[in-house]
């Protein structure tokens, strides 16, 4: 049995972070300085850089600041940005979390805002140190998966091993999220066949077709130079590897960033914006994908890398599964799991079991290597979505 930090909405956290959230890039420095002395005590920086209003960013920040792994929030505003800090503060307050807003322009500038912020953070961290945990079941977990820096080994080792761990988690009643519809191009037929209802199957196919059109307009697939270096030759080849992370469970629903899975099961997250291409690439880097799953309640993320990503994430731990044995030999300190040993004869099932066991250990409080190394990457940019349709979450 796990233990978690209870929240008023019924969810439970596997960490108890204090987040300091800047609401425009102009407030980023102040937020970073406030956190710096407390970065080993659970304080972390998140934020949104843009000065123009955006419904998606507002929803994401509300979901992130009321994430079960978050125990208190300090908002840092410059003062003249368009982000609705009042609505965000009200949402956090209504969730029962301590919240305070520091407006730099009302506080006397950089130095005074940092001092005010640090004083509040120091007091809150003292209060949070006494937080009590309560029993938590595996079925209360939300787990995301992402792959980044993929190569020709990803689809042979790390991704199918995560797929096995996902099958175990879904069987245990957890909610599991896979995503990046731009990396499922070519897999839409076999994926849709796993949908719980024909209507959901049509929605899954439509989401991948939307991604194909979107990326075609941009002129690039979701494919980096390192993917080719490692032997991947096309987006559909990369997709077949990425798809293996989803395992073999029935697909229970289609969600969009910030939508919280209503119950256990396997969910596809549609990360490609709706409507015309407006704000550029859907997710400019892996952490943008992780942030979206965290906003949908993911307590932690299983990250399969082959070229060798080193990232972690703010708010939710990242377990790094290394698909490539050469990369593991070269940078093992950055990896939690050596899945590349499957190529030298270790059974896939053994690595799948290891990932499942490690997921529960990390949920129980054991730090991941990226947490130990201090990684707290975070990125959030502009997007635009329509709400999901009625077929997406069949009862």
């Amino acid at each position: 049995m796990l233990e978690g930090f209870p929240r008023n909405d019924g969810r439970k956290g596997i960490r108890n972070h204090l987040v300091v959230a800047y609401l425009v890039e102009c407030a980023h420095h102040v937020a970073r300085e406030i956190v710096h002395p407390y970065r080993d005590d659970g304080a972390q920086v998140i934020g949104f850089p843009g000065c123009f209003p955006n419904d998606y960013a507002q929803k994401m920040m509300e979901r992130l600041c009321t994430h079960p792994n978050v125990g208190a929030v300090l908002l840092v505003s410059l003062g003249c940005e368009s982000f609705n800090r009042f609505a965000l503060e009200q949402t956090i307050e209504a969730s029962g979390r301590p919240v305070k807003t520091v407006v730099i322009q009302h506080s006397g500038g950089t130095r005074a805002a940092i001092a005010t912020g640090r004083e509040w953070v120091c007091g809150q961290l003292r209060d949070m140190a006494g937080a009590k945990k309560v029993p938590m079941d595996v079925s209360e977990l939300v787990v995301g998966t992402v792959c980044g820096g993929s190569d020709g080994t990803s689809g042979l080792t790390g991704n199918p091993a995560v797929g096995l761990a996902f099958d175990r988690l879904v069987d245990a009643g957890a909610a599991c999220i896979f995503e990046e519809t731009g990396e499922l191009i070519g897999c839409e037929g076999i994926m849709s066949a796993r949908a719980r209802t024909p209507e959901l199957a049509a929605a899954l196919t439509a989401a991948v077709e939307k991604a194909a059109t979107y990326y075609a307009t941009l002129g690039f697939g979701s494919f980096a130079a390192g993917n080719a270096e490692g032997g991947l030759s096309s987006i559909e080849e990369k997709s077949m590897g990425a798809y293996a992370k989803s395992g073999s469970s029935v697909i229970s629903g289609l969600i969009k960033p910030g939508d919280i899975p209503p119950r256990g099961g396997l969910y596809l997250m549609d990360v490609v914006p709706d409507g015309d291409v407006r704000f550029g690439f859907p997710n400019i880097t892996d952490n943008a994908e992780i942030v979206e799953m965290v906003a949908s309640g993911a307590h932690l993320t299983l990250f399969v890398t082959a070229r060798g990503s080193v990232v972690g994430s703010a708010i939710a731990p990242v377990i790094k599964v290394c698909a490539n044995p050469q990369t593991y030999a070269n940078m093992s300190e950055d990896m939690d799991v050596n899945a590349g040993r499957i190529l030298s004869g270790t059974p896939l099932a053994e690595v799948g079991q290891e990932i499942f066991d490690l997921t529960l250990e990390v949920a129980g409080g054991c730090p991941t290597v990226s947490e130990t190394l201090g990684h707290t990457e975070f990125i959030l940019t502009y997007k635009s979505f329509e709400p999901i349709g009625p077929a997406c979450l069949p009862a």
Binding site: I185, S233, S234, I235, E237, Q326, G345
Partner: protein, 110 residues
């Protein structure tokens, strides 16, 4: 569908599906004779590194490249058995593949 065979023997080339016309290198391979996991051998025409593909039989220009039993693109030229199959002779049926000329051929220790 993705009934993949895992390497169990000494073969350094993996056939992921019976339908495939490519094999995957599970270790850096020098040019020359190489064992296929699950049986058989093939002449690798030039060194390839871990994770890269070679043709398991002659592939004609325009033919689909099959890996995991599904198409991963189309051949842009005739490809000989044992030849490297990659961005120079395979193109996506969806979006163009971006690669850096300096790195696209894999690690130098192949």
């Amino acid at each position: 569908m993705t009934a993949t065979k895992r390497p169990a023997g000494n073969g350094r080339l993996l056939r992921l599906s019976e339908a495939d016309n490519v094999l995957v290198a599970t270790a850096p391979l020098a040019a020359g004779r190489a064992a296929i996991n699950g049986g058989g051998e093939i002449d690798v025409l030039a060194p390839v590194t871990l994770g890269h593909k070679i043709a398991s039989r002659p592939i004609e220009k325009g033919e689909k490249i099959l890996k995991y039993g599904v198409p991963i693109g189309s051949a842009t030229e005739n490809i000989a058995p044992g030849a490297h199959v990659h961005v120079h002779n395979l193109q996506s049926d969806y979006t163009p593949t971006y690669a850096l000329g300096e790195t696209a051929w894999g690690d130098k220790d192949a």
